[in-house]
Symmetry: D3
Subunit: 244 residues, 6 copies
């Protein structure tokens, strides 16, 4: 790729930020993971709740849902606390719906049985890509919560049919780059979030051009970058979960 | 494409539903368009408002924003009225943010000057694809509102830099199809909304697999279908706006 | 009546605006009527819902309720969307309570059985008299919904005991006039909404003098005008419903 | 009138309940009146506030507005507290809008100057007719607040152009009766609230037949009763305000 | 104590304001008491409600809960109506939680049986110490409601295990004083509310130094004052309840 | 003290839990501290905001305010997210008001100048005593934010007049104990939170007996325990802040 554009971080266009999963970050949740993608840090918990939403009652199937929030000073300048304002922003709702769909794509709800996996993703520190980091961390938390269910004898086999991860890609100063940080995110024209399974299936593609429309060629280049990036993240998820 | 699968409507996989724009549907708004994509009918108005949101004050630039709603009985069974429930759902907010971004992609905010184009998309009758129909109709309403501004002497040249349209595509019974109606939408695995400009640039791609993840090949086939469909819609927008 | 005052529309003091009911305006609702009283256009739907509010549970009786809304740009200048503001205004609640009471006056709730007729009146275009138009249109929508229930075999006989209609009257430039449009409504001192049954019974009288108090003589003149106007509207409702 | 029907209270059909105004009931408000109409007791305060709503800013005119509430246990069984539920009911809003309109009918807003008279009517004990009692008491409180403004030298002449009072009338067991108490109110078919000035002008007429529609003859009988009743209330207002 | 500081009211440092309980102030509630501590007047009602909150269902135990509100013009200048603003302030919630805890300290919930005593404290006129007056009045109202339950045969013995009362104390111009009125409350550094039972047990102590921190010695002096003051209030509660 | 009662943690009655402050826990806030009191972990940030609330505008004085929240799964079982429910609980508001008052007691608002220190306390893991831990951590975060203001040249001298810390005390199985953890907190009769300055002044005392009232003797014993505990915490705050 081009040597002309330097990313603010000095990373190569196809380089991920440092990725780290800290499992059992807090003690009460069945799954609790602090995920760091560079300076973005999200606490992801997966809670096992013994009831399901109305549309699943009596179905024998379970549910997976997610909520998302940013601590008021996770950002460069302080943002309003959504609980104090009395409502969640459209952005928050959009993100938590995305996290929920992404995780449901890899959970067999029949095998889960009539219970809910309630995911909470709370951003402690934001530096771009919080929704993607949330999905990556939520998967590890869900995997831990599912292992707990198996260990407790509540499930005989795992309802997880695959792993799932997400990454952002975008065009920064004319060049497609992987895993945007805040500086790149603020300056880039095209921004795309891609969610894929560990086996390479696409779960969600959300590409946006707030400024100038982009070409099919650009879209393809971004998808290539994302595919490679997600493969690396998936491998790290496997490695993390392989540890005791 | 495959002859094996019949669409409920009998349409060919790459066939749009009947598309009709009725301009000046109501008399107060600067732009007022009833758009029908098959049985989906959305009233789109564009209102010229002489103020801008705080982040644009004193900038000399304007703003384009959108709100979306469904009449309670636009759907098969009655839905709650959001005004009565006291809040807009996450889905509503997601859609109105999408409409706003899509229209901003074709409006030069500097040329618009310090005023707001406020778009309202209200679904009178729903049969799938309401967000795409909203974008298609909103563009025609905005074009009419902009012409009104020029006619009134408030603008010397149009701030529109392109047209914009949207269509849904999805995989129905294993086959990629264009412009899903409600029956297809409820039954399909993969659902994608594509927003493009009249000159073929991509503004937004939102593909979702709530069930099974999909392949890159499927993604490409869906994008091909959408590109062809949007070209037809763009042509119809031009034709409509060419009439007095 | 006096020849001195010309109404803005040129109508005679006792002349209604053009009245038109378009039945089956949308396809999902059991009753769906677009009513036009001059330039005021309201979409009235009647939905059959198979449950009743708590105070009717187990009573064997049904319920009739109504909700009302104005599309944000149904008015001369854009109004806030109530769903976005997060609450319905006092005016909206007052109107929807009035519509509900008016329709309940002509429905035998015992004969309706334990189900709800949920009326939605959404103003597409406003030019004065939206609450009266809503009541007139709602009656036609309810009649169609009731016919549907009979046709489906859910009811053996109609629970409708009469028809109901409404009209506004007021004093414009010293002269009592029938069916105020927006220009008259904004300028008039006394404003009265009258709801009556087809057989001439009074269901609701709401007369207001925000400016100067009015005399009993004026009240009588306004009631005479309203009685004659409602007789014409009732006849048109019968005519409309007589068509297939 | 008929001797056949006994009112629960034993009153004659045209008899008011005992009416009592207690001025200066609380010490902070510029006008503070406890009004008792039989067992209905409402605390009405009029507060002078040195600002006006946006639509009056810079107009040189003032404003009169009202709020209404019921203490949770003013009623037979405890009602929810509106502040705890987080919103005012439709009924509450309807009533406070009525009180505001009624008082504005007798205040010359120009003479009031750019200030607001903010009326609060809080029901301490309810036994029917709380909105009418509120209007009667609010007038006395407003008169006291206006006298305070004159005494303080803020106004040189009173902006009050008339007095205003209200009473309910209805058909109880086939007979028109004046000033309904709770037992009559719950049992009656037709209910009408009439607001008139001291000089006999009509400010507001609100007649409702939730059950069976009523005739013009009944309407006239009810208006006659109300007119006589309001004359008595107006006289009592004059008497009360004549005391130091 | 020091003769140097004069309290605005001329009271001695350890003197309570005039205290008066008016029982049966309104007629619907099972207990209804107007309590006056000087110019602070609070209407306290205790309602017997035949259900319990979810955490008590099926437990055989009852519950005691409280709500608090200030009439908008109970204060020197008009405050917003919480029902109109759509939420209770933090201060309101803090106070009503305190009243509830204070009363639960003297009610045996087992003996109360599965019903709720719902206390409402509404401030008609405020002059400092409204939360303490509310607790004092609420106890008398609860005692009356409990007597009603016994009289009706719903309870065989009283669930009241003690009486409860509250008073404020504070440091005004360097001197500890009892039962602060508004002038003292606004000017004092340290403010403490003490809730005690009739037999002298401490139920709640809430001392606050918004300005300068205070010493343990001051704390002890304030507790001594409060203890003596509450003993007088308790005696008055006994006296009041001893009357028929 | 008695040897008879063993605390669940095995601690002596007067022993604090392990206390640890981690400064600069996140990177954006001017002060950011993770405080751990045993298993209770709270992220406290202090943000410098260049505006003040209305009552301080133009006064030359600054303000200190606080918000508090618990992550949904900081607790043993998942709690609702307040942002999703749309309002903060009474408990949350009570706690954040307490934190604000406590910090204001040690900040000279004049010296702070017209800016706000906005404190956010978010509980990552709860094991009792979260409000006290919040106050302890908030002080360290505020001290760091103030140092930043001095370092940046915005302030020439510190507006901090003292340090502040808090601890809970209570009666567990008849014995007064210091720094309650969750097991003790759930089981104890009397619970008291004490806030004191580093120099030993009392800022706030909040003692509650939801069950049985407690004696003055118990109160004194609890205050002694709290005083000793806070002295240790204050020393640790000094030690922490002494490090670079």
């Amino acid at each position: 790729m081009s040597e002309l554009t330097a990313r603010p971080s000095g990373r190569a266009p196809d380089a991920l930020r440092a990725l780290r999963f800290t499992r059992r970050f807090t003690k009460h949740a069945e799954g609790s993971v602090l995920v760091a993608m560079g300076d973005t840090q999200v606490l992801c918990t997966a809670s096992v709740v013994d009831k399901v939403p109305p549309h699943k009652k009596g179905s024998g199937e379970g549910w997976v849902t997610a909520e998302y929030g940013m601590l008021p000073r996770s950002t460069h300048t302080r943002s309003d606390r959504e609980a104090a304002r009395g409502k969640q922003s459209g952005r928050t709702q959009e993100i938590q719906r995305l996290i929920g769909r992404s995780l449901r794509a890899v959970v067999d709800l029949k095998k889960l049985g009539e219970r809910t996996l309630h995911i909470d993703c709370d951003v402690l520190q934001a530096d771009g890509g919080t929704r993607c980091a949330s999905i990556c961390g939520a998967y590890v938390a869900v995997a831990d919560a599912v292992s707990w269910l198996v260990r407790e004898g509540a499930l005989v086999e795992t309802p997880l049919v695959d792993s799932v991860a997400a990454v952002s890609v975008g065009v920064y100063q004319g060049q497609p780059v992987l895993d945007l940080d805040y500086l790149e995110d603020s300056a880039c024209d095209t921004d795309m979030n891609v969610v894929m399974t560990g086996s390479g299936g696409i779960v969600e593609v959300q590409g946006t051009a707030e400024g100038v429309a982009f070409s099919r060629t650009t879209l393809e280049a971004l998808l290539d970058l994302a595919t490679a990036g997600i493969a690396q993240i998936s491998a790290e998820q496997v490695r993390t979960l392989g540890q005791p």
